[in-house]
Amino acid sequence: MATVSFQQASRIYPKSERPAVDSLDLQIADGEFLVLVGPSGCGKSTSLRMLAGLEEVDSGSIVIGDRDVTDSPPKERDIAMVFQNYALYPHMTVEENMGFALKLAGISKDERATRVREAAKILDLSDYLSRRPKALSGGQRQRVAMGRAIVRNPQVFLMDEPLSNLDAKLRVQTRTQIAALQRRLGTTTVYVTHDQVEAMTMGDRVAVLKDGVLQQCDTPGVLYDRPANVFVAGFIGSPAMNLVTGDAVDGGVQVGSAVLPVPRDQLTRAAASNGKVTVGFRPEAVRLTGPGEGLPVRVNVVEQLGSDAFLYTSLADAPDDVLHSADLVVRTEPRTPVASGQQLWLGTDHGALHVFDAQTQQRVD
């Protein structure tokens, strides 16, 4: 068990101008489940690999517990990693795969067998101990990879998109199992994913990265309710938050012919840079209103999910400059009698608007 901290850690690949990870500052508490999330190329995997010791740290430092491990090789860091493709040794049985690290550490055969069997029991692998990875299903291989990590009883688990090779249903199942297992073992875990649903459901805290820069790190609830900038607002949540940019006018933000109401002082601060303001509202914070009231939109597609329905709409009178961001998603009660092509008017719930400076992209409260 240990805390982990990134201190101004950067990684610059040779022949690249932009750092892959740029001055990352992150404190991870003992026993915490931290998820690194972001689009591909955001530096999340690189950050994890820096922590693992598989990637150099060009500046800054990384501390596990109270030990600075910046320049230590992986084996001295007391970590275990689960790889995206599992990286199981193909010529070893499940038991040998799981016990390999223990064998290298010089742990006796009996002790090894006990620990492997224990882990196998937790992961429901007891019947497969003598099989080779080739003879296992994807889900079983994934569990072997997990088992290889937990038998070592390390200070930190590192997981690099461990679910991305599973089919959708198994992924949902396994994600709950991993989260439960982590709570039970209480081992500090850093988990990388590009899937924001995975991030939100699994993490105690979620760190959102973009272009190597940490955007925000907080609990899933705060990320959802108070995104720090436009990127986080658009990245977290599915379907994504609706974001529209318009001029600040008296009483709010001009979007097409309508004005979205924003309190005066918030509006002033948000418009300080260039007079434009980005407003965001989540699909569930939108009401259908009467004709002529609120934002006029045209329905493009209706998605019926059973539990609710999503209307994919665009602004009916969108001027050219908002067209690109004018796809508005609305969550409604299921079986709402709405057809595509229909014109609707949208109102937003009070206090549900997120306001951002259109220039700096930062949140304004």
Binding site: K75, A80, M81, F83, P90, A101
Partner: protein, 328 residues
């Protein structure tokens, strides 16, 4: 709708049931397949024609010759002696001498050659500056003519002015008469073979190593494996089929070893040294057929070499099969 379904039903009745088709006599079916695939056969035919003309026919003809007492000038004549040549061969001390030499030179050459190739491939697999240069250099010995290489090496191993003896004397050791001794001459020949084939095998290993996923090494590194343990527990097991392949190829090469011992003394005699100390089976065959004019006996030796190769490859295949089964 009704029309459509009616048609389907009719079609189902009209079509012959599949089961009788499967049990119908095999010959017409085979012929039908032959005509259907005629272009496929046409395209592979050239290979088999060339194979038949230059491999299969000589092969059978050698077997035929081996049953006769004859010489090269009268190869179609001669007297039928049945298996006499084989009996003579098995009773000949020259054959057993050559077989023993072939075996020892083979081991002396193949084992270090493959071990070194493995090590070199491992080094070349690192991100080196000028990697392509090193890889090309690796293949140079293979591209060199045996004659040229052997002549150079026989100079190096020369008794009076050879570079190696000069160096031995420089460090205070005794000069060795490489060509005269049994062990020394065989070692020298093995060195030539090793020099020539190590790079070739290294490149084969390198190709196989590059298909090993990098994640495996990272996983091993995190599991606490040193570079050496990674080599032992990740690289070697992944290369097992390739290693088996190179062993088979090198063994075949070793059984057929001819050029190096022929030219080692510098005069191209087939006796393999004054007391036949490095006469291989290939040399013996040549000596029988071309120096002693017993082409029938030479053909017998050629067949014996083929049988030896067959046995070795067979044993290798069985080992590979057993390993693969154990892996499952």
């Amino acid at each position: 709708m009704t029309i459509a379904s009616g048609t389907v039903r009719e079609a189902a009745i009209a079509a012959p049931p599949p089961a009788p088709a499967a049990t119908s006599p095999a010959r017409p079916r085979k012929r039908r397949q032959l005509t259907r695939n005629r272009w496929g056969y046409a395209y592979v035919a050239p290979f088999f024609l060339v194979f038949a003309a230059f491999s299969l026919y000589p092969f059978m003809y050698t077997a035929w010759v081996s049953l006769h007492e004859t010489s090269l000038s009268n190869i179609n004549g001669g007297t039928w002696v049945g298996l006499d040549n084989y009996r003579n061969l098995l009773q000949s001390e020259f054959f057993w001498n050559a077989a023993r030499n072939t075996l020892t030179i083979g081991i002396l050459a193949t084992v270090p050659q493959l071990c070194m190739a493995l090590g070199l491939a491992h080094l070349l697999n690192y991100k080196l500056r000028g990697r392509t240069f090193f890889r090309t250099v690796m293949l140079m010995p293979y591209a060199t003519s045996i004659a040229a290489a052997t002549l150079v090496f026989s100079q190096l191993f020369g008794r009076e002015y050879g570079l190696i003896n000069t160096m031995l004397e420089a460090v205070g050791l005794q000069a060795i008469d490489w060509e005269a001794g049994t062990v020394s001459s065989q070692v020298a020949i093995a060195v030539i073979v090793t020099w020539r084939w190590t790079g070739y095998n290294a490149l084969i290993y390198l190709a196989a190593m590059q298909s090993i996923p990098g994640e495996l090494y990272e996983a091993a590194e995190i599991d606490g494996a040193s570079k050496w343990k990674q080599f032992l527990h990740v690289t070697i097991p992944s290369l097992r089929p390739t290693i088996l392949f190179t062993i088979v190829v090198s063994t075949i090469g070793a059984v057929q070893l001819f050029g190096e011992p022929l030219l080692f003394a510098g005069n191209g005699t087939t006796s393999g040294g004054s007391s036949g100390q490095y006469q291989t089976l290939g040399l013996l065959m040549y000596q029988q057929g071309w120096s002693n004019f017993h082409i029938g006996q030479a053909a017998t030796t050629a067949w014996a070499m083929f049988m030896i190769i067959l046995v070795i490859v067979g044993v290798n295949a069985v080992i590979g099969r057993l390993r693969a089964r154990a892996d499952r």
